[in-house]
């Protein structure tokens, strides 16, 4: 069987697996966020933490909850790394230096999981489990909570209440992420993923580092986090030993972002509203897969930075899925991709992470883009736009625009300044236009909370640690605040009845508008920068 046919069958199996769980899992998640009952363990959490699960919050309080929770998350993770030498299982790796600890703390709390450190020599097992694994769970649950709050904004009318952040957060962890991650962590061990508390294992006379990988691996993919337990991430045979584990990991990356479109359709009471979003996500994901796969298959050095067991198809499928979601785990080194293949991975991020996007973040990002698309359509026909029975007035469109523009703003300022700094030349691993691509990729990854890298670039200087940390924080929290403000203003409205003048948002016209808006916004913003990097590489 040719590699291409085998690869297509592999894609087919992945899609079939996603299709099987789509309805039950999507509906299950809808029940999680709409149920009025609390589980015993959840009541215990609320009791110990002294929060009232019965009180609903205004959008501002909900946002302060997200910000407060993330702030203490950064603080705790920073402290844990800074005192690592007194914690068990540190293997003499010592305290993590301040700049690196700050960058890593922001990185994991913002669901970016950008890594400026080499895990095998820097991070001990305690920080990996008690610090990093925890943020793998809760940062993903925060993303889902914000998405659900936005959906409630569309659903509710004439109220200033969006739900309770602590309840949404806890339920996301307890009812969705924890059981699925546990089951898949065990399954991953069965395929050969390592779960060891030792520091390393002897292989033919040399030591290769080990870690408690499986528990973090499962949530790393499921929560679209992506931070490798080991340096080579999902290219490491201890994290991803064979084609089975590879397919399972890609499935985990996609399962929540894809199924959340069903959750959305179920919650708003019209399933087609979810299917149309899934259709747009799927179309762009498929198109980008074709680009990356074809480009890599024709690479001059196709196997550089790739593992033989995955080959080009398994590497392209993983790369497209990890950058189309905000995961950032890698099973091949994107820095060694062709100009077009690496550029495709970069473009996936520049779409704003919504094909299908991160856990929760993908859904709220594409809903914000739907608001923009309807606004553009409204301009064309000279009519106040509506979406899901809500008018999109000045407040709503402003909030959506702020949410969309935050990422390009911090990305282009960060990358622009970095390109001007004389010290940056020494940080690059490749000369010429690919060097610029390394800078662009780094800031795109940080600002979109992706976390993958053109990893040749050395990002341990104070400038990179600080600026990428700031990009990650602004790229995460500015859109979240804007999205919650949008949700608040939508919830306050009354429902507008559907009339003959309402543009239906379940058909191909809307799908085309939405896909067009995603591509156009990215193209208008980034073509000049892309022309100097990946486009130049691909054409030269």
């Amino acid at each position: 069987m040719s590699s291409t046919v085998a690869g297509l069958l592999q894609v087919g199996l992945l899609i079939a697996a996603l299709a099987v769980v789509y309805r039950p899992f999507g509906d299950y998640m809808a029940r999680v966020y709409t149920s009025t009952k609390h589980l015993g363990v959840e009541r215990a959490v609320y009791k110990v933490a002294r929060v009232d699960p019965g009180s609903e919050q205004r959008w501002g309080t909900y946002a302060l909850g997200v910000l407060g929770f993330s702030f203490v998350g950064v603080a705790l993770l920073y402290v844990l790394q800074r005192v690592q030498s007194v914690l068990p299982w540190d293997f003499g790796r010592g305290n993590v230096p301040p700049g690196m600890a700050f960058n890593t703390a922001v990185s994991f709390v913002t669901n970016t999981n950008w890594q400026s450190y080499v895990p095998e020599t820097v991070m001990g097992h305690t920080v990996q489990m008690v610090g990093l694994t925890v943020q793998n769970f809760v940062s993903a649950a925060v993303g889902m909570a914000v998405a659900v709050a936005l959906v409630r904004g569309f659903l509710r009318h004439r109220t200033d209440r969006l739900g309770n952040f602590w309840v949404d957060l806890t339920r996301g962890v307890v009812r969705i992420l924890l059981p699925v991650a546990f089951a898949f962590a065990i399954l991953l061990v069965a395929t050969g993923v390592v779960m060891s508390l030792k520091s390393g294992v002897d292989v033919d006379g040399q030591t290769v580092a080990t870690a408690p990988v499986a528990s973090q691996e499962a949530i790393k993919e499921l929560g679209t986090n992506g931070g490798g337990v080991l340096n080579a991430n999902s290219a490491h045979p201890f994290e991803n030993p064979n084609a089975w584990s590879n397919l399972i990991e890609i499935f985990l990356i996609l399962v929540i972002p894809v199924s959340l479109t069903r959750t959305f359709g179920t919650m708003v009471g019209e399933r087609k509203q979810g299917y149309v979003l899934l259709g747009v996500m799927g179309a762009l994901w498929s198109a980008m897969l074709a680009v990356i796969w074809a480009a890599e298959a024709h690479g001059l050095r196709a196997l550089e930075g790739k593992e033989l067991r995955f080959g080009v198809p398994g590497s392209a499928l993983f790369a497209n899925s990890t950058t189309g979601t905000s995961t950032g785990a890698v099973n091949s080194m994107h820095d060694s991709f062709t100009g077009l293949g690496g550029g495709g991975a970069l473009l996936n991020m520049l779409f704003g992470e919504m094909t299908p996007g991160g856990v929760g973040t993908g859904l709220y990002s594409i809903l914000v883009m739907a608001v923009i698309a309807m606004f553009l359509a409204g301009l064309m026909v000279g009519r106040t736009p509506e979406y899901l029975g809500k008018k999109l007035g000045r407040r709503e469109v402003t909030a959506a625009a702020v949410s969309i523009l935050a990422m390009p703003t911090v990305l282009l300022i960060g990358a622009g300044v970095a390109a001007l700094l004389p010290s940056t030349a020494d940080a690059l691993n490749n000369p010429g236009e690919h060097g610029l691509s390394e800078i662009l990729y780094a800031y795109a990854s940080a600002s979109n909370n992706n976390g993958s890298a053109f990893a040749g670039i050395t990002v341990t200087s104070d400038w990179f640690q600080a600026s990428l940390g700031v990009c990650m924080a602004l790229g995460r929290f500015v859109p979240i605040i804007a999205v919650l403000a949008l949700a608040g203003s939508l919830a306050a409205q009354r429902k507008v009845p559907v009339t003959a003048g309402t543009l239906p948002t379940t058909g191909p016209l809307f799908a085309t508008l939405l896909a067009g808006a995603i591509v156009l916004v990215a193209a208008l913003t980034f073509v000049p920068a892309l022309a100097l990097g990946p486009i130049a590489e691909a054409l030269l």
């Binding site: 910000l67 705790l76 060891s196 528990s215 080579a232 550089e304 040749g456």
Partner: protein
């Protein structure tokens, strides 16, 4: 107290409880289940054939080039149009052709490119067969016997279509060790 501080304090309490659940109990539970027979060997990477490290000596099959600095893993991250790296690849090709006494055009792509992890246990069948004459000679084994060993340690595609086939160098070298 400002409302941010109030939310942050509530957040700290929630975070500490969730840390116990997801940062202590969860990994402990996964670890405990991974001790079960059937999973334990995987969890501790007992047979280590999922990774390859360089082995010194003419008698061994050579794995793919590695950019890793053990105990850490990693790739070269060299771009496709990096001309300095072209020279490195050309040098590898010359060396391999010399070592196996063949023409440079017979050196397969996986032999000259660094893997993503630097620990890739596999080489292509073409690269394994290229090495057979030298390995057979150095070990005093008939070439047919060595070719048999290569075939025995070739991993096909799972289900016939998942992943790409390759020869596991670590397992092959150990089999060679016990065959001599």
């Amino acid at each position: 107290m400002t409302s941010f501080a109030k939310q942050a304090l509530a957040g700290l309490r929630v975070l500490l409880v969730l840390t116990v659940i997801t940062g202590v109990l969860y990994p402990a539970a996964v670890w405990a289940v991974s001790r079960l027979p059937g999973l334990h060997a995987n969890a501790e990477a007992a047979d280590t054939t999922s990774v390859a490290v360089p082995r010194e000596g003419e008698q061994w099959f050579v794995a793919r080039p590695s950019a890793a600095t053990l105990p850490a893993s990693g790739g070269s991250n060299k771009g496709e149009r990096n001309t300095d790296y072209d020279a490195v690849i050309a040098e590898r090709r010359t060396e391999i052709a010399q070592r196996e006494s063949v023409g440079q055009d017979r050196v397969p792509p996986d032999a000259v490119t660094a893997s993503a992890s630097g620990l890739d246990p596999h080489i292509s069948t073409a690269y394994a067969l290229l090495q057979v004459p030298r390995v057979a000679r150095e070990n005093g084994l008939p070439e047919d016997r060595v070719r048999e060993l290569v075939a025995e340690h070739t991993d096909g595609r799972a289900l016939g279509f998942l992943g790409e086939p390759g020869v596991n160098v670590t397992a092959l070298n150990r089999a060679l060790d016990s065959a001599t």
